[in-house]
Assembly symmetry: C2
Homo-oligomer: 105 residues x 2
DNA sequence: TTGACAAGACACCATTTGGTGTCATATTGT
DNA sequence: ACAATATGACACCAAATGGTGTCTTGTCAA
């Protein structure tokens, strides 16, 4: 798991385990792997791989603290998805709400 | 390609070809397969498979017209993704903009 | 009626994905 | 010093993914 591939943010959020990881990390704290592990019905190695995918998409960063590796969320790449979605927003929102949104930007 | 699986909308939008298909179909018209084909560097079968995935995620519907199958976008499932993202919006937007958004709903 | 066109159905293939288990190594607490 | 902890690094595996090509069937147009 050495080579740092580039990874698409859309791929990164395609897996439900990874979305759950994002959610767990979203309270601005950082968590070591073993703390995250308990939330999933799979082994440590699998969770670690999912975190690697999130790292490749730059959705999480990690730092070594003692014998543990602490992970932290970086939500910025999610904005790309939201921007993509905003184009289709008009289909399910009223036109006035859409206009509001456009004016905000 | 008979059996209609259930398919996650997050999986459906994970592939760039499928996102491009969604974009092509987004002007409310319907397009037959052979018209969509020309936009991609792959064969008919591959594009057809991607459309099947989009159908499984209920992002497109299709109807037979003469000898062609016409595809139409159904953007509704994308709202699920936007709702999921809205939770993380606060990280890159000012709090006031977020409040605005909450008030709209 | 015959030939060209559009698409479905299917077999096939290489690569990726999402898991497993095991071994090695660094760190901590007693 | 030593045992337990936390993790990395691999090798391995089944199934899914994203392509290909071919054969068949239905439809349209000359």
């Amino acid at each position: 798991m050495n080579q740092t591939r580039e990874r698409d943010v859309y791929e990164a959020i395609a897996d439900p385990t990874r979305r759950e990881l994002i959610h767990l990390l979203s309270d601005e704290e950082e968590f070591p792997l073993h703390a995250l592990m308990g939330h999933f019905p799979m082994g440590r190695t699998a969770v670690s791989k999912h975190l690697t995918v999130l790292k490749e998409a730059k959705l999480v960063s990690d730092r070594r603290v003692g014998r543990e590796t602490r992970y932290r969320l970086n939500p910025a790449p999610l904005k790309q998805v939201q921007d993509w979605l905003s184009y289709y927003e008009k289909f399910w929102q009223g036109k006035i709400a859409t206009l509001n949104r456009l004016l905000e930007e």
